[in-house]
């Protein structure tokens, strides 16, 4: 064999090897899609870019992972593209099918999603129940109550499915069955406002006025909301705690629990930075609280005024502004801030109004104004009573509203809530007296008029 021939054979072998290598390189891997990162916060963009850089287009699981990331942050066409690519590389597992179904469902392609949810069910694994919930909810979205009922009945005892089924049963003239289902939920979650509310409507549908009223009144005194999040939505929440600004905030919470407040505030500042260009006053409020905890009130004030400008005045904001001035030694400005705050109702940090009234009591007492101190003492007890009332803590509410009317006998709202509490505690005569006192102060208090009339008829 001549040298030329040997060289040619080697060349052919090298070329064949190169060809096979190139074929593998070019196919079947596809590139990632152009992701709409411009819709995301800066910190999230960094996390997504890092995930994209790590992405291995040859690996099916890599496509699923990045598709999951896109989906959790609303990049749904990108997520769908990734799952298509994943399926080209092999058969998805149950989590992959659930994700594909979830993406299609969110895109409004419910019929296509159904195919994937059914494949999850075929696995007969631990995600089957989650797939039944999704099937049931999507059937409701298609206005198909029969299919929805079948699916929801298969989804085990997950509260979100039970509540959806109870709603469906009430609407399809099966309120008695709904009532029994709701009783099961209430055994497990006795403080569920939603279950109590649905029970009210089930009783209404059955003509059970007394049951309806009892459940309605109980629903007003409960705040527990059973998670209406499906398992796939809960997964979203977890993703939000793991990426972008949410990651820093989550870590900040952990540091605070460990008592490392300096680290906690530093992480909150990082969260605010990672959130740009968005602004969420909640982050600023949290930073302000932490700065107050580590005695840096001027920094707290800076965050508080940013939150106030962006989001408007709130009771919570003014309470912390007052605390900041108090920490700075300016008691007069603190008092003024708390007074401003007491014009607003807290809606997130519920004790804010109570705290401000307590501080105003101390301020008035310190300045020797006993009448003003008594006024704020009455309001402080009123706020304390409201906090107990919303948790159905009737004993504490009774003590607080009684103290409120002792200090502030002209406060109609305190008399009303005292009456309501006494009625809930079966003190009919005490309730009657309190309603009447409320109406002497405010003859237009319709709820007191109605409740008094109810008392007379019961």
């Amino acid at each position: 064999m001549s040298g030329l021939r040997r060289a040619l054979i080697v060349l052919v072998v090298v070329e064949l090897a190169s060809l096979i290598g190139l074929m593998l390189l070019v196919s079947p891997a596809a590139p990632l899609p152009v992701s709409q990162l411009g819709t995301q916060e800066s910190g999230l963009i960094e996390d997504m870019q890092a995930a994209e850089a790590k992405h291995d287009p040859q690996q099916m699981q890599s496509w699923v992972t990045i598709g999951d990331f896109y989906c959790a942050f609303g990049l749904l066409p990108e997520a769908e593209y990734c799952l298509q690519e994943a399926e080209r590389l092999g058969r998805l597992d149950e989590n992959g099918f659930l994700l594909r179904g979830n993406i299609l469902s969110r895109l409004g392609r419910m019929k296509e999603a159904e195919k994937y949810f059914r494949q999850v069910i075929d696995f007969q694994g631990e995600r089957a129940s989650d797939a039944w919930i999704q099937l049931g909810l999507d059937a409701l979205r298609r206005n198909d109550p029969q299919q929805a009922e079948k699916a929801l009945r298969q989804s085990g005892d997950q509260p979100v499915a039970m509540l959806a089924l109870a709603r469906l049963l009430i609407r399809t003239d099966r309120a008695a069955e709904a009532g029994a289902l709701l009783d099961r939920i209430l055994e497990q979650y006795p403080g569920s406002m939603r279950a109590l509310q649905l029970k009210t409507w089930a009783c209404e549908a059955l003509g059970d006025d007394r049951g309806a009223r009892e459940n309605y009144e109980l629903s007003l005194r409960h705040v527990q909301i059973i998670s209406m999040l499906t398992p796939v939505r809960q997964h979203d929440e977890e993703m939000h705690q793991q990426h972008g600004p949410g990651r820093f905030l989550f870590e900040s919470g952990k540091m605070e629990q460990r008592g490392d407040l300096a680290a906690a505030v530093d992480l909150t500042e990082q969260a605010i930075e990672a959130m740009k260009p968005l602004k969420r006053p909640y982050y600023s409020m949290r930073a302000a609280e932490l700065y107050l905890d580590i005695n840096l009130p001027k920094r707290a004030l800076k965050h508080l005024r940013l939150a106030l400008i962006i989001d408007g005045e709130t009771a919570e904001n003014w309470e912390l502004v007052g605390n900041a001035w108090f920490a700075l030694g300016d008691k007069e400005k603190a008092r003024r801030a708390w007074l401003e705050g007491s014009r607003f109702r807290a809606s997130k940090f519920m004790p804010a109004n109570q705290y401000m009234q307590r501080n105003l009591v101390e301020s008035a007492t310190e300045s020797g104004d006993n009448e003003l101190a008594r006024h704020h003492t009455g309001l402080m007890h009123y706020e304390t009573g409201l906090l107990a009332w919303r948790e159905n803590d009737l004993r504490s509410a009774l003590v607080a509203f009684t103290a409120a009317v002792e200090n502030l006998p002209e406060h109609a709202a305190s008399w009303y809530y005292l009456a309501e509490t006494r009625r809930a505690e079966s003190d009919r005569e005490g309730a009657r007296v309190a309603y009447q006192r409320c109406l002497e102060l405010n003859a237009n208090h319709g709820r007191a008029i109605d409740a008094l009339a109810l008392l007379e008829t019961e």
């Binding site: 021939r5 190169s18 190139l22 819709t39 409004g108 709603r167 939603r194 629903s219 809606s347 237009n444």
Partner: protein
């Protein structure tokens, strides 16, 4: 895609040199041919792979169909800016000595806009509720694109709706403000109704008409008990819990509240005579996963009988509001129900059922419902004769369309063909985005229906920057 070398090899296989003769030489030629052929293939594959890489990442095209602009109506957009004022006394409480108040922009949280002749000068004005600045603002068109703004009231805890009515019947317009207490979901008792009594000369005196209730979204006036004065219907939206109340006007003695129904997420409470019996009835949309429309039949004395006239099993439609309108001009009031509030996902995606449901009043308490408009994320709808052809058309605004595609409309109208078929959707504009409130009226006095809409920003995703309130004047060309 590289046939030439292969065919070249094939040709050479049949080509034998009579001079060379030896088999080895022939074989070497064959190998050379094969080698050249493979080399060509390798080069071609390398080129293809380079092209694939250069082709880069595929763009995601939105599957949502984009309507065209109507040739029949042209629009000129005016962008209005909300004033930002913080009292000096408050600034003193927020800024320590030696520091400055930061120059920050408030979020766009326009919760309500309406076209109304507030000052009764014969020209329509615009009233807006600003849920971030906590104020009610009057806009008046001066000339060209110049508008003036006047703060009617501030430091209101998140106004959701301003009702313009002469409640005390002293011949000027008062303002009744529905206060949410918090723009974000909250089930706490933080709502109220405040009357801004018009004292003249731009002065308003505040009266709290209702408090100790959950978040209030709407108030509508009407003589509900037939005693000749104006009472008020109140939609207490709440969150998980809400209710419809009516406030009985007791003249100098204030307003007494009556509960009509307890349901969560009641957004609007339009008042009209829905059964044509001469008294005013109430209606409402129940949202928050219930997705029902109720009408409350009045016996003329303020006693109401509840009738559910529409519901859907689809908990996800996202009821956005209810407008009473005689869409088919048959003399009774129908309803326009907007569906498309999917903020609970954070990243809402347009759904096939988003748009407008026409709940047609067929008489004798019979209603029939059908979807007449489709627009992703529809939050508000309204009606008006936009093309001046004598019938009533539909307008819709979108809160959460797919804003990554800048061609997607934020405001669109659906043309009535004169037979109450709503088949053609026309885009009006693609900005501002995230619109939740809409009104129709002749703002510039040319007899044509103009539009005003407001933006509500919920900071879950980054969306295109824009103004908070936009006005579209009909039939005008931009100067």
């Amino acid at each position: 895609m590289v046939p030439a070398p292969v065919s070249s090899t094939a040709m050479n296989v049949n080509h034998q040199s009579p001079v060379a003769g030896s088999e080895e030489a022939v074989s070497s030629f064959r190998l050379l041919d094969l080698s050249l052929g493979l080399l060509a293939i390798v080069l071609a594959v390398m080129l293809a792979s380079t092209l694939v890489r250069d082709q880069s990442r595929p763009a995601m095209t939105s599957p949502i169909e984009v309507p065209a602009k109507s040739p029949a109506v042209s629009w000129t957009r005016h962008d209005l800016s909300l004033p930002l004022e913080i009292d000096d006394q408050l600034v003193e409480l927020l800024v320590p000595a030696g520091e400055k108040l930061e120059d920050q922009r408030q979020e766009h949280r326009v919760t309500h806009v309406q076209v109304v002749d507030f000052d009764k000068d014969g020209t329509n004005d615009i009233i807006a509720c600003d849920g971030a600045g906590n104020q009610v603002v009057l806009f008046q068109h001066e000339s060209g694109k110049t508008w003036s703004s006047t703060i009617l009231a501030n430091r209101l805890q998140v106004p959701a709706h301003a009702t313009i009515v002469d409640i005390d019947q002293d011949d000027d317009n008062d303002v009744i403000v529905s206060l949410l207490g918090n723009i974000l979901p909250s089930d706490e008792v933080i709502g109220s109704v405040v009357l801004l009594e018009n004292l003249g000369d731009g002065q308003f005196q505040r009266h709290v008409l209702l408090d100790n209730v959950r978040r209030v979204a709407d108030v509508q006036p009407g003589d509900l008990d037939g005693d000749g004065d104006l009472d008020l219907a109140v939609a207490v939206f709440g969150y998980g819990r809400g209710e419809i109340l009516w406030l009985e006007n007791r003249n100098q003695q204030g307003f007494r509240d009556h509960q009509v129904i307890s349901r969560p997420g009641v957004i609007h409470v339009p008042v009209a005579d829905y059964d044509g019996d001469g008294d005013l009835d109430l209606a409402t949309v129940v949202s928050q996963d219930e997705e029902e429309v109720w009408v409350f039949e009045n016996d003329g004395k303020g006693n109401f009988t509840a009738r559910m006239i529409y519901f859907t099993h689809n908990y996800d439609v996202g009821g956005g509001g209810l407008v009473a309108s005689d869409l088919d001009q048959d003399g009774d009031m129908d309803f326009l129900l907007s569906q498309g509030d999917n903020l609970e996902f954070g990243h809402g995606w347009p759904q096939p059922y988003h748009g407008c449901i026409w709940i047609r009043n067929d008489g004798d308490w019979n209603f029939s419902a059908r979807q007449i408009g489709a627009l992703g994320g529809t939050y508000a709808t309204n009606a008006g004769d936009l093309d001046q052809d004598g019938d009533v058309d539909l307008v819709m605004v979108s809160m959460s369309n797919d804003w990554t595609d800048s061609s997607h409309p934020s405001i669109a109208w659906v043309e009535n063909d004169g037979k109450n078929n709503f088949t053609t959707t026309w885009v009006i504009d693609t900005a501002p985005v995230e619109l939740i409130t809409l009104d129709v009226g002749d703002i510039d006095g040319d007899g044509r229906a103009d539009l005003v809409a407001g933006r509500l920003r919920v900071p879950t995703t980054v969306a295109p920057e824009s103004t908070g309130i936009a006005v579209w004047l009909s039939g005008k060309e931009t100067p």
